[in-house]
């Protein structure tokens, strides 16, 4: 790929990709599921090359749009093969490129829309649903081009689907992941004032983070009840979920999320400690290890002697 990129002739590069696709089209479905994805990735790389190498931003947008539309076609073709899972992943990759490289909100939204449609209509089983949703949430978290209304729709869809996964532990983990959709990372120091046009400030919605985490707790609770009714409550999986949720609370506490106050965290610590005191939990090595390393992590934070340590100092283990 080296010499091709150095030529900077992105139009010709694009023509080559189109020619390759024409040939690959003759390969039939068994080959297409293997040949189309690399083409799409080559095109994604091209989008970045175009954006970075074209001084005229209007021209760059036009060229990026053309390539992204082509990628849309490739992903749609993959979905028809049928190779829904790969197509969904490609839509997400393209959404990310449209958002973060090309800063084209409508196109990025379209890609997410297609990903969700595939999720609803074509993802074969619960395991594949979990993977697809993990990817959707992971990519959506990193997209900064969406204005509030579009973003809300996508986030709402993602959280809704997360809470409807079949197995309660999957639901719980997915909802915890969704909490991050309300808490984006702050841009790196160097970006400063030179934020590109169309990039939105990072979302930092402390209240909705809390809503997600509380929902996760509710799911863990109901998982506990479900097992108590069916299997006489010997299972420690729900407690594993409580410890995991506690770890998410800690993540946000360290990040300075105002909804996670010391008293909120302390209550959860006590809840988890109570659960852990149960005989079955004490016999579960994996659970004990997770719980103890969580406590150890808190102890390490306390000892750091910095600003964060101050916050941790009032927590009682």
């Amino acid at each position: 790929m080296g010499p091709c990129q150095k030529r900077q002739d992105t139009d010709e590069h694009f023509e080559l990709l189109r020619a390759a696709r024409d040939r690959f089209n003759a390969g039939g479905p068994k080959r297409l599921r293997h040949t189309l994805a690399p083409l799409a990735f080559a095109a994604l790389r091209l989008v970045r090359t175009i954006k970075e190498g074209t001084a005229d931003s209007k021209k760059a947008d036009g060229a990026c749009k053309t390539v992204l539309q082509w990628i849309h076609g490739v992903a749609a073709q993959l979905a028809e093969v049928p190779a829904a899972e790969i197509a969904l992943q490609l839509y997400l990759q393209a959404a990310h490129a449209a958002s973060e490289v090309a800063c084209l909100e409508l196109i990025a939204y379209e890609f997410f829309e297609q990903a969700f449609i595939l999720y609803e209509e074509a993802i074969p089983d619960s395991k594949a649903e979990v993977t697809a949703l993990q990817s959707i949430v992971g990519v959506l978290h990193r997209c900064r081009v969406f204005t509030a209304e579009s973003r809300d729709t996508l986030v709402h869809k993602a959280t809704g689907y997360s809470a409807k996964l079949l197995k309660k532990p999957d639901q719980c983990r997915a909802v915890c992941a969704c909490s991050h959709l309300f808490w984006q990372e702050l841009p790196a120091e160097e970006e400063g004032d030179d934020v590109a046009e169309g990039v939105q400030p990072p979302v930092r919605d402390a209240d909705n983070v809390m809503v997600c985490l509380k929902r996760a707790l509710k799911i863990a609770n109901s998982a506990q009840q479900q097992l108590a009714v069916v299997l006489k409550g010997d299972h420690t999986t729900p407690v594993m979920l409580f410890v995991e949720i506690l770890n998410h609370y800690l993540f946000y506490f360290e990040q300075g999320n105002p909804s996670i106050t010391t008293s909120v965290l302390q209550s959860l610590l006590e809840l988890v400690a109570n659960e852990m005191a149960n005989e079955n939990c004490q016999k579960d090595e994996a659970l004990l290890a997770f719980y103890n390393s969580t406590r150890n992590h808190i102890a390490i934070q306390k000892d750091k002697g910095d600003e964060l340590a101050q916050k941790f100092s009032s927590l009682q283990l």
């Binding site: 080559a42 990759q93 103890n292 390393s293």
Partner: protein, 163 residues
């Protein structure tokens, strides 16, 4: 390195993307621990793998499950959940090896320098790890502009406290 028997285990966070790559790995070493990446469709790959080598518990996970992607604290959360001393993860194609609290996080990057929207200028990289009891020597291989650079890091597992 490719002589038979030199490599005892292959740990790969995933996104092999094709059967041929898996077969290549198996030809180097039959003891492979590969987790499922977002572009893998091999049904035998799991989301997480944990194995014990020397005094170390080593976890492998692709990392597309971790939000925010590549975030140290989020990876550490997974590390605590799997209860592993060393977590090998991927997804970001950003090469990284660091000590975090009393454990180690490694991202071997992309062996082919494949494109990733997370790390636009990923270069080919991989990691060789030598485990001897409680000591792990990690050799970091990077191909940067046609030159192979090798760095070494060493970690010793402290005696466990609460575990």
């Amino acid at each position: 390195m490719q002589a038979p028997g030199k490599i005892h285990y292959i740990l790969s966070p995933g996104n092999l993307c094709s059967q041929e790559v898996l077969e290549y790995f198996k030809s180097v070493c039959s003891n492979t621990h590969i987790t499922k990446g977002d572009f893998d469709d091999n049904p035998s790959f799991q989301d997480n793998e944990v194995l014990e080598l020397g005094d170390f518990r080593i976890g492998v996970c692709h990392g597309h499950q971790v939000v925010p992607s590549g975030d140290t604290d989020a990876l550490a959360l997974l590390q605590r959940r799997l209860n592993v001393d060393i977590l090998v993860s991927g997804h970001t194609h950003e090469f990284m090896a660091m000590q975090h609290e009393d454990r180690i996080l490694i991202n071997p990057g992309s062996a082919t320098g494949a494109f990733s929207s997370l790390t636009p200028s990923a270069h080919p990289s991989f990691v060789l790890m030598d485990i001897d009891g409680s000591k792990a020597s990690v050799y970091l291989y990077n191909l940067i502009e046609e030159e192979v650079r090798v760095e070494k890091m060493e970690f010793t597992k402290a005696a466990s406290k609460l575990l």
